[in-house]
């Protein structure tokens, strides 16, 4: 936008020479790691599978990937964690997790959730969304993987991804506003959980400094200054108890401007 065009080799991949990078060492190796093919749901029908149109339109978004590697090149998490599976491979993983014909969505998700450099290492930075020339929205696909892993399959991973999500939702339902002092221990399983204790001890010097600077007060940390109003809690209870998630996927539905027959709201299948 400032009129200057910088030409340089792609990022996050080793440079072979000049502008040539080794995509095989990073990009393709990560793509291969997510089992990038359909595992047929058995029994395989004699003719074709019958699937909902919306479900297939949904996965065409990640199928639009041309494997250019632009999202991998720009990924900010990979800058500090080269082992991170990364946006292209995770978008590819969603292409099969979201495909109703695939037989192994649970195994795929469990693997990506348990991997310390898997889907919970994405930082929500949106770099891949802007880098993609085909509108694949890799970060959006990663969020869908997390939603299905957490909400549909309740996969309690060792990286605290599921616990953090649950702790956050519980925290806001109770307090209306985020109560940070509870979120940290609850994300590790609770104040007295064996996993939480080393983390809390490691944070102790920071907590003490925060107390000394009056950034954190004991009253604020221990008591709950806010409480969610009842109508707010009712919203949580109503939506959380619905048998299906009610979702709007703009890729599938478009918006009212391009779609006069508005109303193409999709339901997220709870499995």
């Amino acid at each position: 936008m400032d009129g200057v065009i910088v030409v340089e080799p792609m990022g996050n991949m080793p440079v072979i020479k000049d502008l040539i990078v080794d995509m095989d060492a990073v990009h393709w190796q990560k793509i291969r790691s997510v089992t990038p093919w359909l595992i047929n749901r058995e029994p395989v029908p004699e003719r074709e599978y019958l699937v909902a149109r919306e479900a297939m339109v949904d996965v065409t978004q990640s199928m639009a990937c041309i494997q250019c590697g632009a999202c991998v090149s720009d990924c900010l998490a990979m800058e500090v964690d080269p082992e991170f599976v990364g946006p292209a491979a995770l978008a590819k993983a969603y292409r099969f997790v979201g495909d109703p014909r695939d037989d192994e969505p649970f195994e795929r998700l469990r693997h990506l959730a348990e991997n310390p450099d898997g889907m919970y290492s994405c930082t929500h930075c949106f770099k891949c969304v802007d880098a993609c020339p085909k509108g694949v929205n890799p970060m959006g696909q990663i969020m869908r993987l997390r939603r299905i892993a957490g909400d549909d399959y309740k996969i309690e991973d060792r990286n605290n991804g599921y616990r953090h999500e649950q702790a956050f939702v519980k925290n806001i339902r109770a307090n209306g506003l985020l109560h940070e002092a509870d979120l940290l221990p609850d994300s590790y399983g609770g104040k007295f959980h064996p996993r939480a204790i080393p983390e809390l001890l490691a944070s102790l010097p920071v907590v003490i400094r925060g107390l000394l600077r009056r950034k954190i007060t004991p009253a604020k940390a221990l008591l709950h200054p806010h409480k969610a109003p009842k109508p707010l809690q009712a919203i949580f209870d109503q939506i959380e108890s619905e048998p299906k998630r009610y979702e709007l996927n703009l890729y599938v539905s478009g918006d009212d401007k391009d779609n006069e027959t508005a109303g193409a709201v999709t339901e997220g299948a709870k499995r």
Binding site: V80, D81, T123, R146, E180, V206, I235, F236, L248, D255
Partner: protein, 300 residues
């Protein structure tokens, strides 16, 4: 200018100095804050990840509360709130059937969201509504010789289309423009538009702290006196966690990080103490020394 004011959670939690600084600078800029004290957390992307309808309903409720006030628009002071709320608004505004479904849920409180709320971070309001010429006229203590590095926070600059960045609204340059308008020196360094790492602090702590440490180190190498950020969640990783970030990257950092209203307040003539600068984990000595030297020079 009267605005429906959404301070977010963290400004009333672990960064109380941000909430205080905003209250202190608002009258100096003729901003009348109508605080949305019944509104709830925006979900910070985590609730949307868990259940999109829930996040959209919470934010539709906040927008509806803002629309009940006589504020000209809704203003926030948190990059993450801006991004998370913009994402929900995109869905709410796109589809009438979906919007009415959400509205049915919040109707029990007598609330209704009308398509098209204007929700702006303070940074955008300063540049687009108040105007940098007006801000410049109100400066009482120009930030002369103060070397300031911008740190935006991802949610306020990406994705560019949703966040409204175009040729007429180069919102990814507003911090630099503002630092310049306040009389400071803009420091160009690698991390200004990158991620602080905060969202994965409980999931991949090493990567999270390395991200924060690397950007802070780049700012040290560029000889910045301080960073400034419109995002209190970035502030948590860059300031509160800075001792751990320094350990993660194996170097000393000591880089002060100011909230946007704090930097603004200094230039508008407020004292470091009034702006809560003493409440930071990394004491902003360079900034306090700078302000004392300016006062001493004025007295001489």
């Amino acid at each position: 200018m009267k605005v429906a004011y959404w301070p977010g959670c963290v400004s009333r939690g672990f960064t109380p100095e941000l909430h205080g600084a905003m209250a202190a600078v608002a009258p100096l800029l003729d901003i009348d804050l109508i605080e949305l004290d019944r509104a709830s957390c925006c979900g910070a992307g985590v609730i949307a990840e868990h259940n999109q309808e829930l996040a959209d309903t919470l934010n539709a409720r906040t927008f509806a509360l803002a629309q009940q006030t006589d504020g000209a628009l809704m203003m926030n002071i948190c990059s993450t709130c801006q991004g998370a709320q913009s994402e929900c608004q995109e869905r709410l505004d796109a589809n009438a059937v979906y919007r009415e479904h959400i509205n049915a849920t919040i109707s029990s409180e007598g609330l209704h969201y009308e398509q098209g709320v204007t929700n702006k971070n303070l940074l955008w309001l300063l540049v687009e509504d108040i105007g940098l010429d007006t801000v410049r006229q109100k400066v009482k203590r120009p930030l002369t010789n103060l070397r300031v590095g911008p740190f935006y926070g991802c949610y306020i600059i990406r994705p560019a289309a949703r966040i409204g960045i175009d040729a007429d609204h180069p919102r990814h340059t507003y911090l630099e423009q503002l630092i310049d308008a306040l009389g400071g020196t803009v420091i160009d360094y690698a991390g200004s538009h990158k991620c602080c790492g905060f969202p994965i602090i409980t999931m991949n702590k090493t990567a999270s702290l390395k991200q924060a440490g690397r950007h802070l180190g780049d700012a040290v190498d560029a000889d910045a006196d301080c960073l400034v950020t419109p995002c209190p969640l970035c502030h948590l990783n860059l300031d509160l966690q800075q001792p751990l970030a320094a350990a993660a990257v194996g170097r000393e950092l000591g880089m002060p990080v100011l909230h946007l209203p704090q930097l603004l307040g200094l230039a508008l003539g407020l004292e470091p103490k009034e702006l809560g600068l003493g409440r930071h984990i990394v004491k902003p000595r360079s900034v306090i020394d700078w302000s004392q030297s300016v006062v001493a020079a004025a007295a001489a």
